[in-house]
Symmetry: C2
Subunit: 368 residues, 2 copies
């Protein structure tokens, strides 16, 4: 332990939210044949975004605009809000870190679901916050339980991902709108909509852009296929958006990232095409799963969570058997979600590899 760390820093665990597939490949000394574990978009980014990044490559000697004017303006127009409602950051992860920093002091409480996105908890812990977790209800995050916990503690932040990761479930807009209406005073809803582009129509709630109790998080990492560029954004009331300027890394979203995201945003055709291919891929994964005796849970995302019908030990063995067959997938970390494995939709070639391996992997996990 370094002697100059603050007591809080020194107390933090060394565990990280996710181990990347590259670290697993290094440990195995063998690359994966199918990369289906990080909910990336294997269909790739928009050709216009690729071209935009390639054009921008020669210009990266210039810092990006720290006000991110053009991208903010485009996002504002896209969402029917003003640029003062938009803050862009280094992925949703980066925005979550700054949000927790802006709103929580050590001892403050945040509420989330047990098994939901771990990076939120990483940041809450990182700023000394207390994380209260409520169980999922029927593979859905449970708005009622989240509200109860937020009121009881009370909580500064209430995290809800809709659609949900890792279960792929979603709530209709009306459920989220009811949650917003019932928020305790003093609580901010952190609405993680990373997967919203891939959800059924009617999933995105209507929320007044000036509502001071909600921040909606979006990303270019999923449907837009730009995970490796690191661009997320939030829609929130202007006073909250303005507060990010007091703490953020002002040049953190660089010229290349802004160029790629802006081009992707303008390619609605590619987004529609990806959405179509993701829907196809979900159906195919469900079929592959059924052939192997697993059940695909309904998904509003670019991944499918597969119910093994057994327990966490079995699912972990299945995950391991797939990894040994060079297939990178992940699984939920907590009971009872951990009876499942989580498979990202990928292009047909990747799903071919998954299909060829799954039955054998199930057999291996069953000790057969």
């Amino acid at each position: 332990m370094h002697p100059l760390l603050t007591p809080l820093s020194a107390s933090l665990p060394a565990t990280v939210p996710f181990v990347g597939p590259e670290a697993q490949e290094r440990a195995r000394a063998r690359p994966f044949a199918a990369r289906l574990g990080a909910n990336e978009c294997g269909f790739g980014p928009s050709p216009l975004a690729i071209a935009g990044m390639q054009r921008a490559a020669g210009d990266v000697w210039m810092y990006g605009d720290p006000e991110m004017h053009d991208l903010r303006a485009a996002l504002a127009a896209h969402h029917g809000v003003t640029p003062a409602h938009i803050i862009i950051g280094e992925g949703i992860d980066g925005l979550l870190g700054n949000l927790v920093r802006l709103t929580m002091v050590p001892g403050d409480t945040a509420v989330t679901s047990d098994g939901a996105y771990p990076t939120f908890g990483f940041h809450v812990a990182g700023f000394g916050g207390r994380l209260v977790k409520v169980p999922y209800h029927g593979d859905h995050e449970d708005p009622g339980a989240l509200l109860d916990a937020a009121a009881r503690n009370p909580a500064k932040l209430l995290y809800l991902a809709n659609p949900d990761n890792p279960m792929g479930s979603h709530h209709p807009a009306a459920t989220v709108e009811a949650l917003v209406a019932a928020l305790p005073a003093g609580a901010l809803l952190v609405l993680d909509e990373a997967y919203i582009d891939l959800a059924p129509p009617g999933t995105a709630p209507t929320i007044a852009a000036d509502n001071p109790q909600v921040i909606r998080l979006r990303t270019f990492s999923k449907a837009h296929g730009l995970a490796g560029l690191r661009v997320g954004y939030a829609i929130a009331a202007p006073p909250l958006v303005a507060a990010f300027d007091r703490v953020r890394n002002h040049f953190g979203v660089g010229r290349m990232a802004q160029a790629g995201a802006l081009a992707a945003l303008h390619d609605a055709d590619w987004l529609a095409e990806v959405t179509r291919r993701v829907a196809e891929g979900r159906a195919r994964i469900a079929g592959i799963a059924a052939d192997a005796g697993l059940v695909a849970l309904p998904s509003a995302t670019n991944f499918v969570t597969l119910e093994t019908g057994k327990d966490g030990l079995f699912a972990r063995a299945l995950l391991q058997a797939l990894l040994e067959r060079d297939i990178f997938v992940r699984m939920p970390g907590v009971v009872p979600l951990d009876r499942c494995i989580r498979v990202s939709v990928g292009p047909p070639e990747a799903l071919d590899i998954f299909e060829a391996a799954l039955r054998d992997a199930v057999r291996a996990a069953s000790g057969g």
Copy 2:
């Protein structure tokens, strides 16, 4: 003010460390003809880095390796240390933010020079720290005064940029080595070496890689011409490096950024070529300045600070006159440094524009 902000967040000023040239262009409703204000590398990144980024563009659907294994290994080899001595972040700015977070609690003190890199102070303030500033001495940061202030307060962090920004001056290695030897117990030297690639031989000090009292900051933004990618790194003792993992945005340096930086690092020829062009450009700026009655201060960086021989009012008027002539330059912010303007080395075409305008701008600033 948003009601959910912490008292610290609510108390922070809305001012930002730098206003980008793009914001100035929007305010002027006219683009700059010569971009010479942000110490960017107008010679561009290495052709190998451009090609590497263009190749990576199609792969950015994948998150970058959060352990940044390949780039860390290459940097470690480059510096003769181990990967455990290297932490990579979203520019030096991003690393400074996490460093302050890891080491300072509200009320702790950091020491810097009055007029030195403002983003360090931005982060110190952002985490509730107290910033003690000591004057420059003869256009150099003053190691003795910094040490005195660090011992007196006492300080957790002592910031020194070598070479210095905004004055372009530098201390020889021995001076920095003496400072390291004299550090008070409990103080960490934050040695910002953003410009070190462009400094004379003998500027980089020898510091034991395991010294727990030093963190050296480097960047791909200056000599490597990748400012718009956002890749900086630090060399420090492994326990301090490991601490960053407890708080950082683990996927924050994305696949594109890692690809570009790795390719740039391997192109030593381009770095040598840029170094040569920067030296030529410094000499040319000095000549242009002399023709206009200004004096170029010696520079160990990719910019030249020009002594007007007058006061801050004059320098500000000169800056304004240059901006009106479509030339983006900056100037130091505090007395007595603010008698100068700061001109980044750019390619010949940009310096042509500067040359064509400077005498006229000096005349205008003189009220003539």
